[in-house]
Symmetry: C2
Subunit: 227 residues, 2 copies
């Protein structure tokens, strides 16, 4: 039986095993639940309407951690405790506000790293924080770390490769000793097949969905199962 | 005669005309003075060394506005008061932390918009906030606003066009009524010629400089003159 509880900070759901052989607890950490521009909308603050927008204006007086209307780009961190009690951290989407989300929530919930990443689509609010993934990877002076597994569609891969060519390039250039960039191992989610894949010990079933003006289903939701 | 004064928040230099016919004051607002990863380095917080990094750890107890070691990506806002007393706001570089810089400093210093933009180079800490420029432009329901003038080299233009194709595309697609993206008018700084250009009433002389491993001078500093 799984128990889901709501913690007092309003941003973390914990799912705790109640079996006799309790091995630990998993949790879902909502790093962001806002729209693509995030909330507050900056325009509401620097060019305020009359009367001013109540929701956005709260950010001028209430600190983000106490303000339920301070909402970064949509993103979820799965803290998965496996049968050995080992925690794996699976990040879904890495948007424009990723660094801010890490500063706020990783520090508060003692999240030490990201073990794997899943991208739902290629828009700025889902991928534009990828440059900062290096900050949640292990440090080595020569950056010869194990690459973090990352899952995305071929469509998203093509877009990300144009935005971040240095995150896709594997080889050192002549005379280059260290590539001080995020180390990522790119995995393509097979298109339209709803074929499951495994990321850090959890099985994900991609469910293609259409997105705004797009005709092709190039955005994904996921159903998640322990394996 | 120009007077430069240092304001109490440690982030704004004001240059005030002392002529009898005082028309207003200009100022330089340092939106960020940090490195490409910005400070704090997230890694120092989520995987702390022993003893922990003193500089980065300050961010856990001192709010950013009181912490001189909380430093976003390097960026400068020129608040230029022209002969008519009209203020023009010229932004140099739009890095990864741009939204955070606007939330913090535009609101504190009552900056209502950005009038023109200059990019020094094409790296993430100088351009990756461009998606958020729409938030510092005027709002119209159909987004038929005057585009903001933006200046950059051809090398940077090629890179930005791959990262943000929707910010370069001008035409509406079939059936599309509104392009709810930043409206920008792209201007190429002529390469290697040190040829001045004018942005929001100020003349800028680009000075090519080399950058880290790059052989070609594809990064620019600027000397600025009133015209």
């Amino acid at each position: 039986m799984e128990k889901v509880k709501f913690t007092n900070n309003g941003n973390c759901f914990e799912s705790e095993s109640e079996s006799k052989d309790k091995k630990g607890s998993s949790s879902l950490l909502f790093l962001g639940t806002g729209c693509s521009s995030a909330v507050p909308n900056v325009l509401c603050l620097i060019q305020p309407s009359n009367p001013p927008c109540e929701v956005c204006t709260q950010s001028l007086s209430i600190p983000p951690e106490k303000n339920p209307n301070y909402r970064c780009n949509t993103s979820l961190l799965i803290d998965y405790s496996n049968d050995d009690g080992e925690h794996k951290y699976i990040l879904i989407d890495v948007g424009k506000t990723f660094r801010e989300q890490v500063l706020r929530w990783f520090t508060r919930h003692s999240i030490p790293q990201v073990d794997s990443i899943i991208l739902t689509h290629e828009h700025a609010d889902a991928v534009l924080g990828l440059d900062d993934i290096r900050a949640v990877q292990p440090f080595s002076p020569t950056n010869d770390i194990e690459p973090t597994q990352i899952y995305l569609t071929q469509f998203a891969m093509d877009s990300v490769a144009e935005k971040f060519p240095y995150l896709v390039q594997k080889k050192l250039k002549e005379g280059q000793e260290v590539r001080r960039v995020a180390q990522l191992d790119w995995n393509i989610i097979k298109n339209d097949l709803e074929e499951p894949f495994v990321s850090s010990g959890l099985q994900f079933v991609p469910l293609p969905v259409t997105f705004s003006e797009s005709i092709l289903p190039r955005c994904y939701e996921f159903t998640i199962f322990p394996i």
